[in-house]
Amino acid sequence: MGSLFRSEEVTLSQLFLQSEAAYACVSELGELGLVQFRDLNPDVNVFQRKFVNEVRRCDEMERKLRFLEKEIRKDGIPMLDTGDNPDAPAPREMIDLEATFEKLDNEMKEVNANAEALKRNYLELTELKHILRKTQSFFEEVSDRSGRREESIGLLGEESMYGVGGSQRLGFVAGVIHRERIPAFERMLWRACRGNVFLKQAEIDTPLEDPVTGDQVMKSVFIIFFQGDQLKSRAKKICEGFRATLYPCPETAPERREMAIGVMTRIEDLNTVLGQTQDHRHRVLVAAAKNIKVWFIKVCKIKAIYHTLNMFNLDVTQKCLIGECWCPVKDLDKIQMALRRGTERSGSSVPSILNRMATKQAPPTYHRTNKFTDAFQSIVDAYGVASYREVNPAPFTIISFPFMFSCMFGDMGHGLLVSLFALWMVVKEKQLMANKTDNEIWNIFFGGRYVILLMGLFSIYSGFMYNDIFSKSFNIFGSAWLVPTSRYNKTNIHKTPDFVLDPAHGDYSGNPYPAGLDPAWQLATNKITFLNSYKMKISVTFGVGQMFFGVCLSVFNHRYFRKPLNIFCEFIPEIIFMTCIFVYLIVLIFYKWIAYDAATPCAPSLLIHFINMFLFSYVKEPCSSAVFYSGQVRFQTFLLLLALACVPWMLLVKPFLLRQEHLGKIKLGGDTEPLSVRSGDIMGDGGESSHQELFDFGDIFVHQAIHTIEYCLGCVSHTASYLRLWALSLAHAELSEVLWSMVFRIGTTMDGFSGCVVIFLVFMPWAVLTVGILLLMEGLSAFLHTIRLHWVEFQSKFYHGEGYLFEPFSFEKIIDTKVDE
């Protein structure tokens, strides 16, 4: 048998690594990816392990790399991904790496700090520039007003001169504030100073850059005029409270002009310096961007190696690291070679040793899959990982899954679309794989491309059997239904709106349509009646077939785990039970198809017969329920009693035989052959203690009772459950027909040029609905039903699924998951 039929043989091994060679060896094993290490110090907490220091250093390096990456992203520099896979660097190279990162990190931080300081300076100067420019207009207004005031003074004379005289010394502060704070600021000033201050403000047109966050902010210039020191301090406090920045502003116009010129030159100088700083930063980042992916991989590998080494034990002499690992028996040679390479690379003279160990623990389940079988294996694994070396349903699922799906999705057109889509993914596989996306839905479709391809191909086949393409039929071989002119001539054909073609009177040629359903049925108004009977029968046939196959697979488990008792006390009664009831039903179905035609007086109604069989009631009327072969009563009674006899057989024989065996052993003096090896249904989990398992009759009996009840009731309900094949396929066909007749038919029923236009117009909605509803939604629902049929109806017959996955230590996987994050 091939590799996928059972999980791979996995053995527990012990590794002795010289402490100087350990790093190189583990690195080689990581590249190989075939070994699952066990943690030998589960009680030791993370901080007390041997290589905690190195792991911490790696964390630190990762942090620096992440910081660098963030800076590179900020500047929009493309990161070079050459896709090469550097080996894990030797431990001494780690120091070099650390130094490089440290240098880069410091440089970056320094450059950033400088740039920030420069930017702050630049901001202040720009704000000052704006203040000087805007306040100029305020002062001009004020001086205008004061000029006018002088005129009024002249007119009013001495008294008024005194009145205004107090306001001669007007003080002011100028500053810059966020634009959105202005209304609150103004209100506050008014209230706090009782309307004794005068606020002027003007908006700065260009947004300014905040040096800390890098955001663009809109600001306004303001100037507050007031009188007296008390108001001055009050105004300043309010400014502080609103985080306004105040700038010194000279009082006289020439001074202001001078200052403005000074500010302009300084801004210019700053611009050059800032430009140079940015250039430098850019150069550093571009250089880092070339290497950053490689660095990430290197650090990731170092960290993974030290993590693994932390799972090892030190021996007494401190010269040797001892590890335990699960490895596939087939690959032991490869692992040995990797260890030798590692030892040579580290220059150690003492070889590393790999030693197989015996264990009572159940090894992990390892299925060697390829890109084709992987998706099918994950469908099975999603239900439960196979127990160690039990029969794996995946290889059978490869065909039965698409087949069951296609029974519900039978349409040549839809099948063709689905398989073309899958074929595109399969052909373009490499390119599509190269540009990874985070789109989860796409990844699911892409991961299942081979499943989808097979589903599509099988749908084409079952569409061919249902003779259904977008709810239309082909008439390739010539319909078996005839319309003889003798019975349907021009005179009588128009008198009745419709006719039921009569197979008993020469409307049927006697030779059925050779492949698939007759196209005449697609045109018939009573098509559903015929299709229901046909599809229900094939659903039950396929279902019983699959369940029967499942029960047969359980024999391979019983034989492999050497449980002959299970064959005699479980498998055989199970098969008899199913045969007596359900295989008999299938035989009746085939019998009815072959033996009865329209000419035979009364065809039996199978459903009624099947129910009556359980009730032991045999009636004469109506004729479809009457006995239809001689000895039917006796034969059916015999079958039913045989099936009933299987129930106590399954339930009682095994527990009592086990008990007897156990008692016999005790009498012999309790020779300690572990019981669990021969009897237990559950594969020995529970580690070293399991082989001293106590014999608990109650436990075994309850377990057996559950199994029996589950099986007998399951057979009935699972057979009924397979009727979903009929139901979904009916729904699919009907939906597709409704879509055609409601949408596309509008176009085909019109004549001439307008018909062309309408066909053109309705094609779009028809195509969209076909893809959206029939392919995606119906396809998904059929897919889910198929999953259920496999998980529950098929796998419950033989599959335990109590194992755990083999998760080898592999750099490839670690880096992949890291990238995904």
């Binding site: 087949f403 419709d498 059925p512 018939a524």
Partner: protein, 77 residues
């Protein structure tokens, strides 16, 4: 077409797919898988076909078709 011809043709076709080709699969790690796939495909597809064929072999009811379609069938098929 008689009854025998389709039965013989289809049966032998799936017999070849499921019973003959599996013997000629080249050695390799996936030999078992390919054989299983072929046999299962043949069995399930043959079962599908034989059920469809037998269900129509001796029809108990005939299709109910309106007279326009019937006229077209008479002329075209």
């Amino acid at each position: 077409m008689g009854i025998e011809i389709p039965i013989i043709v289809v049966t032998s076709f799936w017999l070849i797919v499921g019973g003959v080709i599996p013997w000629f699969i080249p050695k390799g790690p996936n030999k078992g898988i390919i054989q299983t796939m072929l046999v299962m495909t043949a069995v399930s597809c043959y079962l599908f076909w034989i059920c469809t064929f037998l269900a129509q072999l001796n029809p108990l009811i005939g299709p109910e078709i309106d007279n326009t379609t019937l006229t077209i069938m008479q002329n075209q098929w």
